[in-house]
Structures are given as structure tokens and as C-alpha cells.
Symmetry: C2
Subunit: 397 residues, 2 copies
């Protein structure tokens, strides 16, 4: 793993989570002030750390990001906001910067006050073990996880005209409370490219719309979703990317974020399938996204895939109530490349063949054409398994 | 059960459903032509019987309604439409009326052609056993059911100024594919009141908006939802209700339809809880409905109730992404009368007490105030159980 230059990472355990020796405080620290952009939840019920980070991005003077898992610090009122501010103050005093140059994320149970004594000791400890190494990076990944079954990371290297090779590395967490509007998803992307703060901000929004905003598990938009891009500028001595490299960077960042984003429904709580939904023929891309989302959020579609059941009427009908126009007589459906429905009429197919193709692989690909328009969209989601229900019936108790 | 005057009913078995001796064709026949109104699915993928019935209501000359279960006749193209027309022709020839005076509903699996030979024999048989009796009515109820675990009926008698007592009787089916826009729900309301067709139509729409449009199981709006009101006028020799009686009738019909509608999520596939959601303080009733629907459709809320888990952050956060304004600092939540969240801040509560109150009864009542407005709404839904998942993983296979 080739990490971008200019960052150190750590992740430590301070017993916010009840399971012993589980990392729950992570730090990402820039060697020098860097550029940061952020995209946050669209929920009106917003956790304190989101309010704080949102007010501090975009920026060209960010020095650190602190994350805790196990407690979302959401629905915690004034005390929650004071706790979030205290966390950034403590990080600032540890690494020597101003508190407003520290970003913050939290994830976990909603509605409980943070155990600040534990968190203080966690931040002090995390500040002492910062490292520009893969181990440090992976410790940080562990520290942001909650119900995740596996680590979600991605990295790439991009060759440029005007600088050393640029590196991008990303980590994400999320497995439940994942709606298509940024989910209980934390995403942290670090790069040694240099962008001006406002370009970074608009770039990150575009990238999110093609990646983290195209995934869901159950569609419940969280109070804490945060995606942050941190740029050290160390690959080019802080010289901004030229137009051609910027385009190339956008392409690379998009592909890295799609890679990271897909890992989330792939790890959906209890999921046995990653469902990829490709919509074409809609009147606009926005319409296609609305249809993809509606198909993805139908428990009937999800459970059919769980059971390897070629009950395609559920997919077609889910497209019909997305609130955007479709052309039923120009609707076509394929599952895993097998045609089931064409020009609004069923076509004969071997149910056992479709069933077998669903059951024999983790990925199920749904291709739905909904008319003759040019709008298209992709969406990734999990199936819905009894394990999801069991798990989520007993989360806080 | 006091049935309204002027109707005969039947329900027979013709082997559309695979389970032996299960009724799957029902008839409701008026002794003389009557008034009919209808409210149908908002899905753009619409089953043939819905297209046909929709084109025939409102009307003052309806003689019969035929229903089959076990096959939705949806996504079946031209052949499906011809089959639906043939069904109404056959009923017309059996009872002696014009085909366009026959309404039709179908429910069951999407995307399969109707077994017309079986259905023909079913309609002939059903025409021969029509009866103005409770037995006939209950046979008809059985004939419209699919995955329902119990019959859904309601009836009432209303005293009037200008006529004999008016009776209203209703039957409904539905347990899955239930969205808040009419669900895979069939509802048939018969009354011996007399209304002009256009008043009946606007009345039924208003009533549906307060009853069948306030329920969900998983929120998947079906292709076949149909609610029909049939008026024989026999209580008043076809004299329309006066203004005061009309208001009283609307009130009675609304309460009967709420009663029927609530039975549907109460019978949600695998459901162990009926969840009643009362929203207040929204900026409008429409906003309150949107919030209630969002809370109802959250799998995280549903599974928390399944597990008796007082994870109230899921409820509050679901209100925050409904796409309509709320006031977080004036948000208050009670579950089963126990306060959990007030003025946007958590308040101490005994988790085991809330858990016990959820686990000890079928009904869970969620009361959520989202601001200081005057908008309010009610919504009823099911919890989400492993049984729902198991059942829906293996529906067609």
C-alpha cells in the first residue's frame, strides 16, 4: 500500500465500544496544514461532529481529523456539541495547532452522551502512536468501524505532467443505516495532490454523487454521514493540478470512491448478495437515479434476490412507483444477463437457470431499461437476509 | 353480520392457487344496477384489471364485480387485457348484463398469464351459488385472499333521517406488497345508501386518503391495488342522502375503512407488532404524512420494534430525512406513552420498561412531535420479522 506523502495515522482502543481491545479512536494528521473538503448527511437531525466539521470545510488550513466509533454523539443537544468541540481542542493541544483546524467524525449509537474521560485518554494515546505507515493507516481504519465485518480501503497512484506521482488512499466504514444520501458512512480520502479549497469541495460533491450517493443498505439516511477529502500537496510542493491533471484526478478519485462505496453494501448487515442495479432509458439521469433507488429499497426485491427467486414482477413494479415517468411498453429487464421481460411483456425463461445464476455468485446484476430516453444510473445495494433482521432487532439491547 | 340490502356474494375454488380447495374466484352482484366508485394504484405499471375497472368508474350502472386471486394479471400485455375483458364478458353473460357494467380485480403473482379455462369454470360456478348471506359474503372474502393469515372484514349500521338504517360492509385483502399508496390491497365496500357517482368518487378518494393510504407493510406500491365502493340504494329507494346524512355517512365510511385498513399491517407477513405512528407539530398534514411514512418504512425502526429495542434514535433520525422541514429543537418522542426525547435532547428512561411495554403487546404506539406546526397524520405499519424475509425469499419458487 503506497500511502500519499504528508500524513500520519493511528487508531487506538479506549473502551467506548464494549468489546475489549477494539479500536475506537482514530487520528489522521497532516504534517503541514492542508486543504480539506467535506460532504455530509442531508438528514435534518444532524450529529454535533457533523455540524462542527461542516462549518470548517472547505478550508486550506486543516491539520487533523479525529474520529470515534461506538457512539454517534447525535441527538445529544448542547452537551453533545460541547463534547465535540472539546475533542477537537484536545487534538489541537496534542499536535500543536488551532482547534478550528481539526475536523471530527463520530459513528455508533444515537442519543447517548460521549464517555469523555475515555475519549480524552484515547486521543492522548492516539497522538503518541501516529505513523506514516500502512500499519498506522489500518489501525485508523479499525478505529472507525462499527458493525463492519471487514475493512474498507482503496488506494491508487496516478501519473502526472507537473508533479511526482499522485497517490490517493481511502478508508470507509458502514454496513447498516445506509441510505443513498451518504448513509452512516464515514469516508476519509487522503491525497498528496494540491487543489484549491473550492475546487476540492465541488469536486468531492460530484464524486460523491457518482459513488457514495449511489449505494444503500436499507435506505435509512443517518445523522452522521461524513465524507472528507484531505490534500497534503506534498507531491507537487503545493502547486495546484493543471486542467488536464485535474480531470485525470477527478476520474481517479471517482473510480476509487466507487470501489470504496461498493464495499459497503457488499458488507451490508447479514447480506449474502451485492445487488448492482443499472437503469437505462429514463428521461434524465436524475430520473434514472430515482428509479434505481426505488428498486434498491424494495424489501420485496431484496428478499427475492436473497432467495434466488426470479420474481421479476417485483423489480418492474418497483420502477413504476418511483415518482418519475417510465414507458411500460418500452420496459426491458435482464437479471445476470438473462432476459425476462421485453416491451412490457413477459418472455419465457427457465426459472431454475435464473435462480441458479443468482445463488451461485455474490453479485446479482439487474439491468432495467425503462423507456427510450438517454438517462442512466447505477446503484449498489445489499439483499435482505434474516441475519439483518436478527442483528437489527438487538442492536442496543 | 347485517349485510346491506341488494347484494349477493359468492366465492369458489377453481384451482388458480396451488393449495387445494382454496377459494380463488369471488363475485359480488347487485340485484339492480348501482353506483360504483373506485380508487386505484398510483404505480405506472398497472395490471389489466385495474385499467379496465378504472375506465368503468365512477358509474351509476354497475351490476357486478369479479375478483380472482392467485394471479395478478399484471405485466401481461395485450393478452392480459383480452383475458380481463373476457372475464367481465363471461360474468355479464352469466348474470344478464352488459360487460362494461362489470368491474374486475386480480391479485397474486405478477407476470403470468391467467389460466383462463380454470377461471371460466370458476366464474360459472360462482354465478350459481350467489347468496345474500353472511356465508356468501365470507366465501367471497376467502376468494380474494392471497398471503393473508386472517379474513379482513368490517360492517356497521347507521341511522338516518330520510331512509331505513343504512348498512355498510367491507372486505379487504393484503399482507405484503403494501405501500402507502393503495398497496396490493383489494378493498370492496358495499352499502345500501345511494350517492350520485361523482360524489361517491370524491368521497371514496377522501376516505382512502385517511385509511388505505395511511398503511404500509414494506412500502412496495403494487400494480393491482383497487378499492371499490358499490351502492345499491336499497335503503332509500335510490333517494340520495341529504347533506347531514351524507356527512354522517362519510364519517361512518371513514371509520369502517380505517378499521379495515389497520387489519392489513396487523396481518403483515410475519409481523409480530402493529405499529401506530402519530405525527404532530408538522408544518402541514401533508408534511406529517411524509414523515409518518418515512418512519414507517425504515427497516431499522421496524426491526427495533421487533426486538423490543428502545433504539429511539432510529425513529427521530427517520423523521429527519423525509424531505420536509422539521424543528429538531422542538422534537419530542414517546413510545407507548413513555417519554424518551424532549426538545431535541435525550431524557433518562428505564430501557427495560420500554422494552417490556413493546414486548408485552401487539400494538406499539409511536408519538412524535416534530415542531410547533399544526400538521398531523396517522400511519399504521408492521414490524419486520425474520419470517417476512423467509416468506418473501421463497414466494414464487
Amino acid at each position: 500500500m503506497h500511502l500519499p506523502k504528508g500524513f500520519r495515522f493511528s487508531g487506538v482502543s479506549c473502551a467506548i465500544k464494549t468489546r475489549p481491545n477494539t479500536r475506537d479512536v482514530s487520528l489522521v494528521v497532516l504534517d503541514e496544514s492542508g486543504v480539506a473538503a467535506g460532504v455530509y448527511t442531508t438528514n435534518q437531525i444532524v450529529a454535533a461532529p457533523v455540524v462542527l466539521s461542516r462549518s470548517r470545510t472547505p478550508s486550506d488550513s486543516i491539520r487533523a481529523l479525529v474520529v470515534n466509533s461506538g457512539n454517534a454523539n447525535a441527538c445529544t443537544g448542547t452537551r453533545g456539541m460541547n463534547d465535540a468541540i472539546a475533542m477537537t481542542e484536545l487534538v489541537a493541544s496534542q499536535i500543536g495547532c488551532r482547534p478550528e483546524h481539526v475536523l471530527i467524525m463520530s459513528t455508533g449509537v444515537i442519543g447517548r452522551f460521549l464517555p469523555m474521560e475515555k475519549i480524552r485518554s484515547g486521543i492522548v494515546q492516539a497522538s503518541q502512536v501516529l505513523a506514516a505507515t500502512e500499519t498506522g493507516f489500518l489501525d485508523a481504519v479499525d478505529g472507525i468501524m462499527t458493525t463492519d465485518a471487514f475493512r474498507k480501503t482503496a488506494c491508487l497512484e496516478m501519473h502526472c505532467n507537473q508533479s511526482d506521482p499522485i497517490r490517493i488512499a481511502g478508508m470507509a466504514k458502514g454496513a447498516g443505516m445506509i441510505g443513498p444520501n451518504m448513509a452512516t458512512l464515514l469516508g476519509i480520502i487522503v491525497t498528496d495532490a494540491w487543489l484549491d479549497p473550492h475546487s476540492a469541495q465541488s469536486l468531492l460533491k460530484r464524486v460523491a454523487d457518482h459513488s457514495f450517493n449511489c449505494i444503500s443498505v436499507e435506505g435509512h439516511t443517518s445523522t452522521n454521514d461524513s465524507l472528507v477529502l484531505l490534500c497534503s500537496g506534498m507531491a507537487s510542493h503545493r502547486k495546484p493540478l493543471d486542467a488536464r491533471d485535474f480531470d485525470k484526478f477527478e476520474e481517479s478519485l471517482t473510480s476509487l470512491c466507487i470501489d470504496l462505496a461498493k464495499q459497503i453494501p457488499d458488507d451490508g448487515e447479514g447480506a449474502t448478495h451485492l445487488i448492482e442495479i443499472a437503469i437505462t432509458g429514463a428521461q434524465s439521469d436524475a430520473d434514472a437515479h430515482a428509479i434505481a433507488r426505488n428498486v434498491a429499497l424494495s424489501n420485496l426485491v431484496k428478499t427475492a434476490i436473497t432467495g434466488g427467486d426470479p420474481n421479476w414482477g417485483r423489480i418492474v413494479s418497483a420502477a413504476g412507483y418511483a415518482g418519475v415517468p417510465i414507458e411500460p411498453s418500452h420496459t426491458h429487464l435482464q437479471i445476470n444477463g438473462i432476459k425476462l421481460f421485453e416491451f412490457g411483456e413477459p418472455i419465457p425463461f427457465e426459472a431454475s437457470q435464473v435462480s441458479q445464476s443468482i445463488k451461485s455468485q455474490k453479485l446479482t446484476r439487474i439491468e432495467l431499461q425503462v423507456g427510450q430516453g438517454t438517462g442512466g444510473a447505477m446503484h449498489w445495494t445489499s439483499d435482505l437476509n434474516t441475519e439483518y433482521v436478527r442483528f437489527n432487532s438487538e442492536y442496543t439491547t
